[in-house]
Symmetry: C2
Amino acid sequence: MRSIIIASTSTIHGSGYLEYLLDELKLHFKDTDEILFIPYARPGGISHDDYAKTAAKAFNSIGKSVKGLHEFDNPKSAIENAKGIFTGGGNTFVLVNQLYKNDVLGAIKNAINNGTPYLGTSAGSNICGLTVNTTNDMPIVYPPSFKTLGFVPFNINPHYLDPIPDSTHMGETRETRIKEFHAFNTQPVIGLREGSWIEVKGTELTLKGNLDARIFEYNKAPYELPTGADLGFLK
Amino acid sequence: MRSIIIASTSTIHGSGYLEYLLDELKLHFKDTDEILFIPYARPGGISHDDYAKTAAKAFNSIGKSVKGLHEFDNPKSAIENAKGIFTGGGNTFVLVNQLYKNDVLGAIKNAINNGTPYLGTSAGSNICGLTVNTTNDMPIVYPPSFKTLGFVPFNINPHYLDPIPDSTHMGETRETRIKEFHAFNTQPVIGLREGSWIEVKGTELTLKGNLDARIFEYNKAPYELPTGADLGFLK
């Protein structure tokens, strides 16, 4: 049975890396002591090694060790053999580019569809949607495609940000950007606020965390969904 | 002689479309009464026709008419015959995709290098740099390449935004994003605040408007340049 956590962010304001999710992660990864970490998104361009250390520190605190996918000679077999996978945030374009370069998207898809528990945060959540057309990141590299894992039949917008009242900046709001996405695409988009996540259990999709999420459907006014909502209708 | 205005934005807060630039544009386009408008960036997904009307309204106020590139059967020859070209803002990915689709990048490059005056705002300015890897826009379509016109030997970041003090949002600041760009690319980036523009006259590049610009060079701390600065050193 698929078991996936698609989180808006790794870190909420005033709290440590993954801290707000640790109780959840104890349960989510209860059947393994070792997590395979995909460090490809490299926030701020840090090295795979340094990034894996950050992830390890958080997982060590719940008694689990972390091994970075970059440490393996054969990343495909590392994914096949993993008992739990975490893809961290950073730059979505850098992440997707590296996933294609190492040709591991198929292996991740198979592993997760066969029941390997998965955690994604930010960029690692973006890739759980149909495409990364709704990332907030700067396109600092050109990946071979924007198509991704499609664990959910819609797109994710992590770190969803409400319009800032009285802003004098003329750049587009997040809502404007997602509306623009729907001028060229039809799949729904879920705006996940920091602290929210989607829980996937088999075919059941549920909104979790303390906050509401903002839903954008093609040709429809955007609206709010409360936490706990069943997201199965969204396709 | 090349004559190019690369503006951060079409509109500054509390002012009409292109209003802050109109005196400049009277001079810039003094040798023509008709502007060829490239509406491909389609802000908010509006139609090419509607977008051309917005541009026409502003240019009519200084006695010039506007024709949209989409109105021509042969866009290449329309560009070759133009006496002045304006590319408006919107979504950079949509703009670049359409420029490649209609195979007009070469024609624009030739025309501008041969002296046709050009104005770009926002997305229309992004394409004047080497690549669009430093756009702020959402990647709502997948263009065939991120390479663009290279009228200046660096990248543009329009609508440059300083960090918001006391923000609790965990998304990256603009400065963090551009630093991340330099983990994978070496060309300089100019952060153009709203109200700033780059004036290109032949081989001379000058920062214009009332504001300083923020400069990001590979392996160097970011720094400010005052308006009026010669940008010729930046490559």
